[in-house]
Every structure is written in structure tokens, then in C-alpha cells.
Symmetry: C2
């Protein structure tokens, strides 16, 4: 399995990371396998379909990386990393039902193959198994972090449901939703991973902020890629957000400075869901003209500065942690 092969921009950083977390991640993979075993074939089948669908295992790798930054990979690290991957996978399963996505990572999505019911239930199952895994860490602080994070993720999903089809969405709200949906789990992975390896509360808090910013950068890059990617090997078809009428950061920035004609285009395609051939390209051009991609990228670069600041006192793996920030941003180049 290829871990952390974000893209091939900077093979050095990817290689270094993969090498560093390889031992820990092979333990994580074994534990995931063990916890996917079920007397009920359908559960195992659906869970494996999504867990082994070529995801990058970025979140559990962050747990391992955080543990290695402050100590060793222990049984608690491994359990926590598997739990974080299960939480992420559970949200993917439910997301696909909610977005009615037919594809996930280039394969048919679980709800498309097995129906909504099975996808909802196996998501619930993975979520429960994640908590079982977390109990194995024997660390109540970690359990507190991850249960709060799970609530934050879901609350973010609800907010997105309510707000992300409205052109009243502000940059601030947009960042809060991204923060809840994506960054909170990145942050928690880094925070909890360092805590179980012996980091102090303050050190772990800095790792949370590092991870949170990394998550935001990751998501901003994803939102730009959804308009600008030329690469279909990721299994994601460009234009998903557009077709779903999901208002993301580049559009929010563009709308702010848009002309009346541009606003009308946005209103028709996003609010009225009236989309025809050529509209996607027109919207992309319009976002570009109004600096939507550039301003988003600029924000991500500022977040890199903040994240670097958080890890300035880290002794180990600093170059890797910094490299990962740049890697996340530049994968859309």
C-alpha cells in the first residue's frame, strides 16, 4: 500500500515521510485488518471497499508522525491511528450518501453498489469500532479530544448543508466549515499522536494548531483542484463541487469582487442549479479573473507561515513537518 503519495511534486518529502512512518503504518494496517473482520460478510465487504480504495492514509500517518516527533510508536499510537482512519472512513461513507456521489476515488461509491442503508449502517459501525480502538489507548484525554472532534466534524457537515448553497456565505464561515469538516481531525490526529508519545499539553496543543492549519491548506488545495486539476488519476472528476452547487472558498472570494454579470452567472448556476454545457469553464474563468484561486492560494501561504511558527520549538522531524505543508499546497500545481 502506498502511504502519503500525495502527488509527485516533491518525491523527497514523500519518500522521507513514507520511510519514517512505514513501520508504524504496517502495524496500523494490521490492526485495521483485524478490526474490519466481522461475522457479517456485508460489513467486512463494504468497509474494505472503502478502506482499501486507494486513500492516502494521510490522517493515520499524521498520528504516527506526531508520535515519532515526541517519542516512539506505541500500541496506543497504532490504535489511535486506526481509530482516526475509521472515523474518516465513516464520514466518507455518510458523505457519499448525503452528496449522492456515485464515485469515490475512481471507484463506484459504497452507497451506489450496496444502497444507502448499508452505507449508513457500515459508517455507524466503523464509528463505533473507532471508539473501541480509542478505549484501547487507555487515555481519557485522547478519548475526550477525539469524541469532541467527531461532534465538531458532524456539526460542520450540518453547517455545510445549511449554508454552503447560499451566496451569503462569508470567507469566515467558509473557513469555519472547512475547519470543522476537515481540519479538526487533522489537528486531533497530530495532538493525540503526540500526547500518547509523551508530549506536554502545550506541545500537543501546538501540534493541534499545526495539524489544523495543514488540514485547511489541504482543503483549500482540494477546492482549487476541483476547478483546476488536469489530473484524473486521483479518481476525482473536476467540477464535482460545481455540479453539486457547493460554494467553496475560491468562489466566495471571486463573488466578493465580481461584476453584476459574473454574479448573475454564479446565481444561475449555483443558486438556481441551472447549468448548461460550457458553464463550468465559464465559472472557472470567472473565478480566475476575480482572483478567487490566487487569493485562496495566498491564504494557504499565510497559513503555512502560522503553522511553521507553531512547530518552531519541535526538535525532531521539523523539516518533514514543514515540507508536508508545502506539499499539501503545491499538489495542485
Amino acid at each position: 500500500m502506498t502511504h502519503l503519495a500525495l502527488q509527485e511534486n516533491n518525491p523527497d518529502i514523500n519518500d522521507q515521510l513514507q520511510l519514517l512512518v512505514a513501520d508504524g503504518m504496517s502495524q496500523v494496517d494490521r490492526l485495521i485488518d483485524e478490526y474490519l473482520k466481522s461475522d457479517i460478510p456485508l460489513i467486512e465487504q463494504i468497509a474494505k471497499h472503502i478502506i482499501y480504495s486507494g486513500g492516502k492514509r494521510l490522517r493515520p500517518s499524521l498520528v504516527v508522525l506526531a508520535s515519532l516527533t515526541y517519542g516512539d510508536v506505541s500500541a496506543a499510537t497504532v490504535a489511535l491511528a486506526a481509530a482516526v482512519e475509521f472515523i474518516h472512513t465513516a464520514t466518507l461513507l455518510h458523505d457519499d450518501v448525503i452528496d449522492e456521489s456515485d464515485m469515490r476515488r475512481g471507484k463506484n461509491s459504497a452507497h451506489k453498489i450496496w444502497g444507502n442503508t448499508a452505507a449508513i449502517l457500515v459508517g455507524d459501525y466503523l464509528f463505533a469500532r473507532a471508539f473501541e480502538l480509542m478505549v484501547k489507548t487507555g487515555n481519557l484525554h485522547v478519548l475526550d479530544i477525539l469524541s469532541k472532534t467527531s461532534a465538531i466534524i458532524t456539526a460542520g457537515e450540518v453547517r455545510q448543508l445549511v449554508e454552503s448553497h447560499s451566496l451569503d456565505l462569508t470567507v469566515e464561515s467558509c473557513l469555519e466549515i472547512m475547519g470543522a469538516k476537515t481540519s479538526a481531525l487533522f489537528g486531533a490526529a497530530c495532538q493525540a499522536g503526540s500526547l500518547v508519545a509523551g508530549a506536554s499539553i502545550e506541545q500537543a496543543q501546538s501540534m493541534y494548531t499545526y495539524g489544523y492549519n495543514l488540514g485547511l491548506i489541504f482543503q483549500i488545495s482540494d477546492d482549487i483542484l476541483d476547478y483546476c486539476s488536469q489530473d484524473t488519476s486521483r479518481g476525482k472528476v473536476p467540477g464535482d463541487d460545481f455540479r453539486e452547487g457547493k460554494i467553496t472558498l475560491p468562489l466566495v472570494y471571486a463573488y466578493r469582487d465580481a461584476s453584476d454579470d459574473d454574479r448573475e452567472l454564479i446565481h444561475r448556476t449555483f443558486v438556481e442549479s441551472d447549468q448548461c454545457a460550457g458553464d463550468f469553464e465559464a465559472v472557472r474563468t470567472m473565478i480566475n479573473r476575480n482572483q478567487g484561486f490566487e487569493t485562496s492560494r495566498q491564504l494557504a501561504e499565510n497559513l503555512i507561515v502560522l503553522a511553521k511558527q507553531e512547530i518552531r520549538l519541535v526538535d525532531r522531524n521539523k523539516d518533514l513537518l514543514v515540507g508536508l505543508l508545502d506539499e499539501c499546497l503545491n499538489r495542485y500545481k
Copy 2:
């Protein structure tokens, strides 16, 4: 709010129980209120709709009762009871999406009013909040019990999805599914409630078995009521299981001894989903003729004997615990 008003068969037992758990349950209600507060109005709205829809609060009452049987109601008892109610409510929300039920306790179901997406997400949210509440107990054993129980419940749902429309369903499988879907949470409520109040591992294990059997009796009674209830005040319309083609215990028993003609009726209405006017009454008569209700009731009576055996060494509240078993069975009289 009326707690534990199962039915009016035995007002003494209900009154005694309500009186005993009243103080604890008012603390539980306050904590539930606190944990339902959200910055996102939709979450609070949906969660309150289902939490305050007239449910009997039976599961959290069992937590309080178990704590009072082995000690006092502590902050851990209250957090645990609220968590158990949240887990139950989360499964109800997802069940309604899965069963496409339009009604729940006599009101429109959440997914009918707000859509599947919101119901799925608020279910996830309540589940995450349940774990936050459990972390508050500071008791890893309790967290282990409840996280395992959550996985068991969901696995039971998946099994029901796969097996409960097949006439190959055996009595054993049927009981296992009921055990997972309903009884496990009853058992865990009793076990964890007694543990946090100082019961020994063995005492808590006996309370688990008591609760598990109580849950089975509750579900058997529910399955009989779904054919035989004359009472529409429960908000449940008789015939739900029949209309959904869900094969429950009375039918499994009846099918075992049914004539070819009876089997043909079952096959047409359940497997082929070909149901016409009068079929529900015909199936009820057929189940009755083949002793399906009587054999189910007999099983429940045997379970009462087993459950009584488990609590023979309990010092406090024994009459109440015993009375509750009879009450659960006899509510369909």
C-alpha cells in the same frame, strides 16, 4: 415528563419506579438539555424533536435504577444515562431513514420533515456527543462496554437488513438480531449503571444479563403488539412490520408449523411484497392459529425466569426489578 409510563397495567410498579428514579432523571434531563444546545439551530431542532417526542426514557431510567441498586446516583450515572439515551436516539434517527418510516411516536419522523441528510448527520452528532458524555464518567471500563455495544447494535442492524426478509430466518438468528439491536443496550445500561455505583464485575455482569433479557422481553412484546395492539395511543400503527416485510419472532414460529397454504400466504406477502386489503388480518389469524404469539410469549416467560435468577442476590430494589420484567411482557395484554 413522564418516565417509564410503559402502560397502565400495573400502576404500582410504574409509580414506584418513577418515584425511585425521579431525582436522578431530572438531573439526566438537565444534562440532555445542556448537550443538545448547539450553535447550529438545525441540530438542536432535530435532536429536540426526537428526544422530546414522548419516548419513555426507559434506557436511561435503567441506568439510574442500576446505580441506585448498588449505590448512589453520581455525576457518572447521570452522564452515562444521558449518553445511553443519545445512542438510542441516534439509532432511531438512522432507523427511520433506513426503514423510510414516515411516523415516529405519532409524529412525523425527522427524515420526513428535514430530509435524510439532516437525519443522518444529527444521528452522527448525537452519537459523538454520547461519547463525549461517556468520557465525562472517567471510567474506561464503561467506555469499553458502551463502545462495544454501539458496534453490536449496528452489526445487528446490518444483519437484520440482510436476513430479516428471508424465510430461512431461524428462531436462533431472530433472537440474535433482537439481542444485538435492542437487548445489548438494555444490558449495557444495567451493567454500566451498576459499575459506576460500585458494583463488582460479577454483580455488574449479572445486571447485564438481567438487562439483556429484559430487552428481549421488551422486543418480543413489541413484535406481538405490532400485530395485536388495539391501542393507537403509543403512536405506533399496528402492522408496521408486516407492511415493511420484516420477519419477526411470531412469524418465524408460525412459519415453522405452517401448512402449505399458510406458507404460500407468508411467501406472497413477505417475500414477494404482494400485499392486498385483508392480508394483514389474514396473516395475524394465521400466526395465531400456528401459535406464533403464544410460543413467543412462552419464550418471554422463560426469559423472565432466567432474569429473576440473575438478580436473586441483589439486596435493593429486587421487587422493582422483578416487577419491571412482568410489566414489559404484559403491556400487550
